[in-house]
């Protein structure tokens, strides 16, 4: 299934998307397809798979730890693409790769997208690649038919938002707050404000998914009620993986259960 179809189906049902992030190769590459399986069984609509990087500047301590564990387990960008391919063979779920730009740049954008395409990857998110620097990247991604998911943030002006939407396909990734990734207890009131501010510009053009700090069912309920099309959860899963990394069954059960709890929060009965 493509990202677009997935959002379309959810929209028809009146529900939001649960987009779940894990780091490829954390804690071990062979566990990644099983963790992904648990996420999908729990109700994940779109899977985000990370490529580990030595210098993850947009990430808080939780996902920094995932980067280091994955690098220590010998995970390379190619390995993550292999894992993606395996996951796509097992599950009919849209899969996007999340990576900093340097691994793509080092491999070469053309070669990277060739390999991503072969691995049946549906889209790519690059948190340190703003649209101004995507002149080479965007046309290559387009030729390969992969979605380019760009980010917008609370500091994005409407002018920039328009420009970003032009470069974006699949969904627009709205960063919910000023800061780095990491679970937060409370949803900031400003997150709801920014969703409502951007919705008139995205509605009917591109699905809007909200990430950073989203970790609990009540966060998801609030942002879907505010009109967002999806919620992105990363650090909460990564934290569970880290905590239960020596007991795989407990890890998989826990992840399946938590994903289904989060998924329930995307379903709006009143819609």
């Amino acid at each position: 299934m493509s990202i677009e179809k997935s959002f379309k189906r959810l929209k028809e049902e009146g529900n939001g998307a649960l987009i779940s992030y894990i780091m490829g190769g954390d804690p071990q590459p062979d566990l990644t397809p099983r963790i992904a399986g648990a996420l999908v069984e729990g109700g994940t609509d779109i899977l985000e798979l990370g490529i580990p990087f030595s210098d993850p500047i947009a990430d808080g301590p939780t996902i920094q730890g995932a980067n280091q564990r994955a690098l220590s387990s010998g995970t390379t960008p190619l390995k993550v693409l292999e894992l993606a391919s395996q996951i796509k063979d097992d599950h009919d779920v849209p899969l996007v790769i999340l990576t900093y730009y340097n691994p793509i740049f080092r491999i070469g954008p053309k070669k990277f997208f060739d390999m991503a395409k072969k691995s049946k990857v549906d889209g790519v998110i690059v948190p340190d690649l703003p649209v101004e620097e995507a002149q080479d990247y965007k046309p290559i991604a387009d030729t390969h038919g992969l979605d380019t998911i760009f980010l917008a943030s609370p500091s994005t002006t409407i002018d920039r938002l328009e420009k970003i939407i032009k470069y974006t396909s699949g969904f627009l990734y709205l960063v919910s707050l000023f800061g780095v990734t990491g679970a937060r207890e409370k949803l900031q009131q400003s997150t709801i404000y920014i969703i409502k501010k951007f919705l008139p510009y995205t509605a009917g053009r591109i699905p809007l998914a909200v990430g950073f700090g989203i970790s609990q069912p009540h966060h998801i309920k609030s942002i879907i009620e505010a009109g967002a099309d999806g919620a992105i959860v990363g650090s909460a899963f990564v934290e569970m993986i880290k905590r239960s990394r020596y007991d795989v069954n407990m890890m998989l059960n826990g992840i399946r259960r938590y994903a289904s709890e989060l998924k329930r929060a995307t379903i709006l009965k009143s819609k």
């Binding site: 210098d55 740049f105 080092r106 340190d128 703003p130 917008a152 943030s153 500091s155 994005t156 800061g179």
Partner: protein, 399 residues
Amino acid sequence: MKEFTNNPLDGKYGKYGGRFVPETLMSAVLELEKAYSSLKKDPDFKEELEYYLSEYAGRPTPLYFAKNLTEKVGGAKIYLKREDLLHGGAHKINNTMGQALMAKRMGKTRVIAETGAGQHGVATAIACAVLGLKAEIYMGKEDIERQKLNVFRMNLLNAKVHPVESGSMTLKDSINEALRDWVTNIQTTYYLIGSVVGPHPYPMIVRDFQSVIGREIKAQIMKKENGLPDALVACVGGGSNAMGTFYPFLNDPSVKLYGVEAAGHGIESGKHAASLCAGYEGVLHGMLTYFLQDEHGQICTTHSISAGLDYPGVGPEHSFLKAKGRAEYKSVTDDKAVEAFLELSKTEGIVPALEPSHSLAFAIELAGTMKKDDLIVLTLSGRGDKDVQVVADYLKVKV
């Protein structure tokens, strides 16, 4: 038309540079660019900066003819640009004073900075203290262990030092952590970066503030020798003292430019910090430039006896000058740098910092191949007091 112009289009020097930053930081770098382009033209700002540089920091610095060293080497005349005599003991204050004044005028109350050995941290703390700004410095836990005295010095200067425990716990991780702080606090916080690195407009701003070095050299050498130098030599960590030295001479093709990187235990050993000499193009810290990295794009940890050169990347304008063939980049090992450190201390009574000891080693070699009426200017970017213990340890001398 001049080949090298001042304002890069879209922050690009050829293909190098740019602003590869998370979207949240985009507004901050655009705000900074706007503020800088108006302050640059503001006579009041210029006057205030000049006031602090001359009355407080000690500019202009002398251009000293190193007669003893020149005679000993027996080649080109070697001049030393004495940035080591500045307040704080290094060229760093040219930049921190300029940026701290900008922060103040932009209405930012809190200044953050990264530091490796602590030199930029100290220079930031100094500038913030005198201007009444709050300074918070990110410093790798490994570096804190190695440079306890500089940590205390920053505390004396009323700055807060945050230990960085992520990644390799060194300079590159401190930059990562400063960027994470900035993304969280962009409304109140000014990020005062320490070299000609980072997203546009930082490489341009830092270069402009450091260009006072090259401008003074030009005026001083014209007066003393009635002509331009034949070669300029400077060490390259991130590349700020070198860029500041080179920039006013870019359009003087007769002046050869040499940047000297740290070869650590030797390039073959893999334990070095020579990004331009032995790295690959990559993207990190907001810029496209040369980085030491593996085949998968993971950034390497570096080694140099001089903490100030211990960075796995380099300012994008240097990558551009390398591509254009306008500057040449060399590397010098720990061993050769210490030799030069000892040499200058003995022959001229000047204890240089270990960073410019690298460029000094190359300058001595270069002078030997040149004619007696040729002129070399070496930028002595800092004094060596901070390195006395390191050199004693290296020589296995107990002090």
